[in-house]
């Protein structure tokens, strides 16, 4: 399978990373080198093998459904690039 410029552009957009038009061919080439390396996995017989979900068999712990944390608005907003009146501020989303 080979990735072309258009696919590279589509992946970049899906990943929400702006890539300049002139950088796309080189990016596609890098993807192809990495995917070429990954293609080796096709040699492995994986019939009847379950995909790993947890490297150590463990049951996730459960706890009572109660509030254990919160009331930290100032701390949560402290590192925001733009916070106003207790909210995160972003460019206009809805016209």
């Amino acid at each position: 399978m080979s990735i072309d410029k258009d696919t590279a552009a589509r992946v970049a957009h899906l990943a929400r990373i702006r890539v300049d038009e002139e950088r796309l061919p080189a990016l596609a080439e890098e993807f192809n080198a990495i995917l070429g390396f990954i293609e080796q996995l096709n040699e492995v017989d994986v019939d009847g093998v379950e995909p790993m979900t947890s490297v150590t068999p463990m049951r996730l712990k459960r706890r009572e459904d109660v509030v254990t944390d919160g009331d930290r608005q100032a701390e949560v907003l402290k590192n925001a690039p733009d916070a106003r009146e207790g909210f995160f501020a972003v460019p206009k989303v809805v016209e």
């Binding site: 929400r16 993807f31 996995l41 994986v46 995909p51 790993m52």
Partner: protein, 494 residues
């Protein structure tokens, strides 16, 4: 007085308890060494005020029953969130981020009395094997080839941690290991580093790269120090749902050096085509040392070894693309300057384009691709199946009575900074060929310095243990360390 910064943690602990030295003295000695080592670019955020306060508190608490780490100066990898102190995973996108909370590992270390000297350089988001993807610039290996002043990589991603411990800037350091990021830099700098069993150390507050593979662990001068540090870092944490609720043994007390009757496996698939003969002979030497120490050596097969790196380069980028989706310029870190009329999509795309370096962008996009509709089964699910087979290989070896597995730690000694600049990304990935299997299988692995190459650079051997048996693994490593008797130190040029 002997040079305080060259003390092991165990020696410093004993000297502190006896009152031969104070933490304030130890800490000042390290702070002076750090200020004189800017050429190594290991410490990227120095925290002398915090260090002096913690040292004073440790000196006040001093006594025979103080914890092992009371008053011991450490370096902390930039990947750990430390309250009020820059923690940016060596990325531009976290420029200015000062966490409002403390990672579980650093909290435990500080509760045990440890002193934080500062934050250590690393590859951006721990993605790299040479510390060359850091926004802070390269960390530099204190070791040089004989008669040659080429700047060498300390390895990566925990390159700053490795350089700092090897150069005597701190007594020990925290590292993290997703595909070899503790063990490869430890091998490149002649120190000891252990990646514990997945779940042994809490990941809470450690900036995530690939959550099913990431584990924190210690980087130290020797096996005993690694054992002391690991005990303080490990333990169950309700804030990490994958943290194991198992007791943490006194690893140091398990260091007897007696490995008589243990079975050590030598996996034939780790003998790679084109492996340098120095690596091959070091491995053979390690085998002989284990045998001389009374272990039984058996040849074993781990048939899916070859597929570990390709599986890793599906699983790790897939998880990274999800984990790094949070860097959107909204909640923390840096937001790109926007043009008039730019909307939210432009904000995301511009922020991530200027905030992430090339390697991180590449991995996020590869991860996005392998998880995208139509490719999920072909890549991601297949890689998870291969991962299950890699783990099964190890389980079969252990079921056949193998106690530990001996391999080289890296396929070469430290290489020159910039030497891989023109290679394609896959060439750099091959650095982790011997270490990455251990992350995929969730096992503990330790790198122990075992010899020097012809150019006078350190080389390491890796031991892989059974899950949750870090104590036994550390003891086997201790036997190897005693036999190898690696005492070389880098000559000071910085």
């Amino acid at each position: 007085m002997t040079d305080l910064t060259s003390l092991t943690i165990a020696a410093a602990r004993d000297a502190l308890r006896k009152g031969d030295v104070t933490s304030a003295e130890l800490t000042e000695a390290c702070l002076t060494a750090i200020d004189g080592a800017d050429a190594l670019n290991a410490f990227v955020h120095k925290t002398p005020e915090i260090a002096r306060q913690q040292a004073a508190a440790a000196d006040a608490r001093r006594g025979a029953d103080a914890p092992d780490l009371n008053g011991i100066p450490l370096g902390i990898k930039d990947l750990f969130c430390t309250k009020g102190v820059p923690s940016q995973a060596a990325s531009r996108i976290l420029d200015g981020f000062r966490p409002e909370y403390e990672s579980t590992v650093t909290r435990q270390l500080f509760e045990a009395g440890a002193v934080m000297l500062g934050k250590l350089n690393m590859d951006e988001f721990a993605m790299g094997s040479s510390n060359e993807t850091s926004v802070y610039g390269n960390a530099v290996n204190p070791w040089r080839r004989e008669g040659d002043d080429t700047a060498l990589t300390p390895g990566g991603s925990s390159g700053g941690s490795a350089a700092a411990v090897a150069a005597g800037l701190c007594l020990g350091a925290t590292g993290t290991d997703t595909g070899g990021s503790i063990r490869q830099p430890a091998a490149f700098t002649g120190i000891t580093g252990i990646k514990p069993t997945y779940g042994r150390v809490s990941r809470w507050g450690i900036i995530a790269f690939a959550s099913s593979l990431d584990q924190a662990g210690p980087m130290a001068r020797d096996v005993r120090d690694a054992a002391i540090l690991l005990r303080a870092m490990a333990g169950h944490d309700p804030l990490d749902s994958t943290s194991a609720d198992l007791p943490v043994p006194d690893f140091e007390a398990m260091l007897t050096g007696d490995i008589r009757g243990k079975t050590i496996g030598i996996p034939r698939e780790y003998r790679m085509d084109g492996m340098p003969d120095e690596i091959e002979s070091l491995w053979a030497e390690g085998r002989r040392m284990m045998e001389d120490a009374g272990a039984r050596i058996v040849d074993i097969s781990l048939p899916h070894t070859k597929y570990a790196l390709p599986a890793y380069y599906v699983v790790a980028p897939a998880e990274a693309s999800s984990n790094l989706a949070r860097y959107d310029g909204v909640r923390y870190g840096r937001r790109a300057k926007l043009a008039q009329g730019d909307g939210i999509a432009e904000m995301y795309e511009k922020t991530r384009a200027e905030g992430f370096g090339d390697e991180v962008q590449r991995r996020v996009m590869i991860g996005t691709y392998v998880l995208s509709a139509g490719f999920y089964d072909a890549y991601y699910n297949r890689a998870r199946k291969v991962r299950a087979l890699i783990k099964r290989d190890f389980e079969e070896a252990f079921a056949n009575g193998v106690d530990a597995i001996l391999t080289p730690a890296t396929p070469s000694a430290a290489f020159g900074l910039g030497e891989m600049a023109d290679a394609d990304p896959v060439q750099m990935y091959l650095n982790d060929v011997f270490t990455v299997t251990v992350n995929l299988a969730g096992l503990p692995g330790i790198s122990v310095p075992a010899g020097l190459d012809r150019q006078g650079l350190p080389l390491g051997l890796q031991l892989i243990g059974r899950p949750w048996e870090e104590g036994d693994l550390l003891n086997t490593a201790y036997a190897l360390e005693r036999a190898a008797n690696f005492v070389a130190k880098p000559g000071k040029w910085w």
